[in-house]
């Protein structure tokens, strides 16, 4: 098969293979919501989605814990709106090495809760939950993480996954204030930001930089490499 001029040839494999282009096409079309996955990658995601790592109780506990770690706020929501429990379950399946820590930590949490308050963690009052978390919430950064007690490692993992899950969500990105990932014409740091951080542009350097009003003009040079347009 000859891939012609500017062809956007989807799922076309070798010129000589017979293949099953209809099936290929279907997989790729179903990948539409999947941010440019290859058929193999898509298949793996679907396989992981079909697996179950946490039972309902464990998912509920993660949901409660994640909102203690990062309490929701008006307008920018919290871990539940950000899909944090689902994200943590997916990562546990995607990276099986985390599974023992994730599952074992949840059992440790309920066992502590029963011992102190005779209830599961998810049913405790916030103040009681804090009493359980306070002793494991802080760590000594001078001690390598793998040498820290298990429950401290587990809570750090839960905090990391909660924070990353939230700040990679639509709401978390809004809370953070990140302004990128959209078409832009970069023309330097705003003056108020330069002032805030006590730096300034060197006029000689800036003189060499792109004048954005000419970005659409086709570049031409003289024979010495001096830009003419």
């Amino acid at each position: 098969m000859l891939l012609g001029t500017g062809a956007v040839a989807l799922g076309l494999h070798s010129c000589v293979g017979e293949g099953e282009p209809e099936i290929e096409q279907q997989i790729i079309e179903s990948a539409d919501g999947y941010f440019g996955r290859t058929p193999e990658e898509l298949e793996r995601i679907e396989k992981l989605n079909a697996e179950e790592l946490f039972n309902d109780h464990e998912l509920e506990t993660i949901a409660v814990l994640s909102e203690v770690i990062l309490p929701p706020k008006p307008k920018v929501g919290g871990p539940l709106e950000a899909g944090v429990p689902e994200f943590i379950e997916f990562m546990g399946k995607d990276r099986p090495r985390m599974q023992n820590t994730l599952l074992g930590g949840l059992l440790w949490l309920d066992s502590q809760s029963r011992e102190l308050f005779d209830k599961e963690f998810k049913s405790l009052e916030l103040e009681q939950q804090k009493q359980i978390l306070d002793p494991i919430a802080f760590y000594d950064p001078e001690i390598p993480s793998y040498k820290r007690p298990f429950e401290i490692q587990w809570f750090s993992l839960m905090r990391n996954l909660t924070v990353t899950g939230y700040y990679t969500s639509e709401m978390g990105i809004k809370d953070l204030g990140y302004k990128g990932n959209q078409p832009n014409v970069w023309d330097g740091v705003p003056q108020d930001v330069l002032d805030q951080h006590g730096v300034a542009y060197d006029p000689e350097w800036i003189a060499k930089c792109i004048d954005q009003s000419t970005r659409g003009d086709i570049a031409t040079w003289d024979e010495n490499g001096n830009l003419l347009t």
């Binding site: 000859l2 891939l3 001029t5 500017g6 062809a7 040839a9 989807l10 076309l12 494999h13 070798s14 000589v16 293979g17 990948a31 539409d32 440019g36 290859t38 992981l48 989605n49 770690i69 706020k73 950000a82 994200f87 990276r95 978390l133 760590y139 950064p141 750090s156 905090r159 990391n160 990353t164 700040y167 639509e170 978390g172 990105i173 204030g177 990140y178 302004k179 990128g180 078409p183 014409v185 970069w186 023309d187 740091v189 108020d192 930001v193 805030q196 951080h197 730096v199 300034a200 350097w205 060499k208 930089c209 792109i210 659409g216 086709i218 570049a219 040079w221 490499g225 830009l227 347009t229």
Partner: protein
């Protein structure tokens, strides 16, 4: 097994569609030849919405960008990675080499850093300069006209600085530095380390009406759908399909060997189709290998015949030898003066650095022979998996508690957002005969093709260079008022990345004037077989402290001109 033979005879078969293969395709197609491009991976067009990852948000993915499936994160545009299922490679025990492959139209050019540096005059004459390695059989003046043409054809921003070993070119104007880069400029200059605008192949201005202009999303590693960065498919292969010649793409086709006739001349290639696992043959007057330095060496070594018992082009026994990657070592610092940033503006910029430091040192006064350049990163980037891990660990620099939970975490994430600046040194290692890849006779891949076995070790010359990098990074971080993160990397190699990890592997089919000590002549033509050429980084005699792509492009164009001349004169 029946091998299916195509009745067509092409003028030229090009194996591989990355930088070298793309340039050969463009030049040879423009000259009107009938060409087959054989690529191991699928067709890929950066503008195809079905495969595109540019402008996707992390929350489009259930793993939020984590790199489980793709080594540099799941939005990165490389199909392959350090390990590919069914296509292994092996090591001599006690040595290491990491081999990154990307099997897709355009190869690794779809995700590369676009740092587009010319080699300088000194870089082609290393042995004359310091006695290590070998000189190239050509000099800067031979390559300069091609660098000039590559600049104009593909587009690269930068500035003419009049530096002896970082030559001027035909540059588009660079983008202005970002905030963290202003801190780097100050910090580096305080230590006498020069900083100039970076030189990268994104279009800050239009260069023709076919390609768009950069819209500053910072995602060049995802391959630009506006064709505003250099990717081989969008900038070379698609335009080649529009020009006078005929370009036929064979995708998902893994080349096993170059076939030869009784006289020992190449007749074409045989390849395995990934679709049906059958072997096919293609014929051509000329075979151009551009499969990447190690893959091309592998194809040559696997192309054994009565006439070429040691593998094609390997009468010198040099194929696979002199493998070398750039050296690499990195460090990052926490810069308190970059805390509490106002995220009031979009500072994505181009994907990668707006400023860099070319090598400034005088090696005659240092304990290592070759230099390195410094790449800089930082800023308020788009969150992805891993963002906010150990969110307030920098509290330790202020004597406050690390960890916790609650609203304070939101404050900490924002307080430290964009307050880290990183530096990566990328330097020149010495090409050595005893760093090599060879065929592992015990192992084949899923296509039955014998695989490569690597044997590579750094020497004290590279280790001492890495120590110099680390000392420089620490000094610059202190100059920025920052705290160096982590201890100085130690280990047996002083914090050097493993060989191969910088993904600048070159040298496996080095060029030279003497057929006994080199594989190709200075036109990238095999000494042993005059109708086989290699236009990837295999023919590099030495790496320089520059990234290799711009030189691959220039030498591939130069070799293509030579092929056109030889074909027209009916010499090959």
């Amino acid at each position: 097994m029946q091998i299916k033979e195509s009745p067509d005879v092409y003028d030229v078969i090009i194996v591989g569609s990355g930088a070298g293969g793309g340039m050969a395709t463009k030049q040879l197609a423009d000259a009107g030849f009938n060409i087959a491009v054989v690529e191991a991976g699928p067709f890929f067009d950066p503008a195809d919405p079905k495969t595109m990852t540019q402008m996707k948000w992390p929350h489009a993915s259930p793993r939020r960008g984590a790199g489980t499936d793709r080594a540099f994160g799941e939005f990165d545009m490389a199909y392959g990675g350090w390990e590919i299922e069914g296509e292994p490679y092996t090591h001599e025990p006690g040595t290491d080499f990491r081999w990154f492959r990307s099997h897709m139209l355009g190869g690794r050019t779809n995700h590369w850093g676009r740092i587009s540096l010319r080699f300088g005059p000194k870089d082609f004459k290393g042995k004359t300069r310091d006695g290590y390695g070998e000189d190239w059989p050509l000099g800067y003046d031979d390559v300069k006209p091609y660098y000039d043409k590559v600049d104009k054809l593909i587009g690269v921003f930068g500035t003419n600085e009049g530096l002896e070993n970082d030559p001027d070119g035909f540059f588009l104007p660079p983008p202005k530095p970002r905030l963290h880069e202003l801190f780097y400029i100050k910090g580096a200059r305080k230590s006498g380390v020069p900083v100039i605008p970076s030189r990268m192949s994104m279009l800050t201005k239009r260069i023709n009406n076919e390609r768009g202009v950069c819209f500053y999303c910072g995602q060049c590693s995802r391959s630009c759908s506006a064709y505003a960065d250099f990717s081989s498919g969008s900038c070379l292969i698609f335009p080649a399909q529009k020009s006078g010649g005929k370009v036929r793409l064979y995708t998902n086709s893994v080349v096993r060997e170059v076939t030869t006739n009784e006289e020992g001349k190449a007749t074409g290639v045989s390849y395995i189709s990934k679709d049906d696992r059958k072997e096919y043959k293609l014929k051509a007057r000329v075979v151009v290998l551009a499969a990447s330095a190690c893959s091309s060496a592998r194809i040559l070594l696997n192309s054994k015949s009565k006439q070429h018992p040691n593998g094609l082009g390997n009468s010198s026994d040099v194929v696979g030898k002199y493998l070398h990657d750039s050296t690499g070592s990195s460090r990052a610092g926490f810069i308190p003066a970059l805390m509490n940033r106002k995220p009031s503006y979009n500072e994505d910029g181009v994907g990668g650095l707006h400023v860099y430091s070319p090598w400034w040192g005088d090696n005659s006064k240092l304990d290592f022979p070759r230099g390195y350049h410094i790449e800089v990163w930082g800023g308020m980037g788009m969150p992805s998996y891993g963002f906010g891990f150990n969110a307030n660990e920098f509290n330790k620099f202020f004597g406050t508690k690390v960890g916790g939970y609650g609203d304070v975490l939101r404050d900490d994430v924002k307080k430290y957002y964009g307050a880290v600046v990183g530096m990566a040194g990328r330097g020149e290692g010495i090409a050595r005969k005893d760093n090599y890849c060879e065929i592992d006779k015990t192992t084949v891949d899923q296509f039955g093709i014998p695989v490569l076995k690597f044997n590579y070790k750094w020497s004290d010359l590279e280790r001492r260079q890495a120590t110099h990098m680390q000392q420089t990074f620490e000094e610059i971080i202190h100059n920025m008022g920052g705290e160096v993160l982590g201890d100085r990397p130690g280990g047996p190699d002083n914090g050097l990345n493993k060989p191969g990890e910088i993904i600048h592997e070159v040298g496996t089919t080095r060029m030279g004037n003497d057929p006994k000590t080199s594989v190709t002549n200075k036109y990238n033509q095999l000494h042993d077989v005059d109708n086989v050429f290699i236009v990837d980084a295999g023919p590099f005699v030495s790496q320089a402290d520059k990234n290799c792509t711009w030189t691959i492009l220039a030498l591939s164009w130069r070799a293509s001109d030579y092929i056109i001349e030889q074909l027209k004169a009916q010499n090959i």
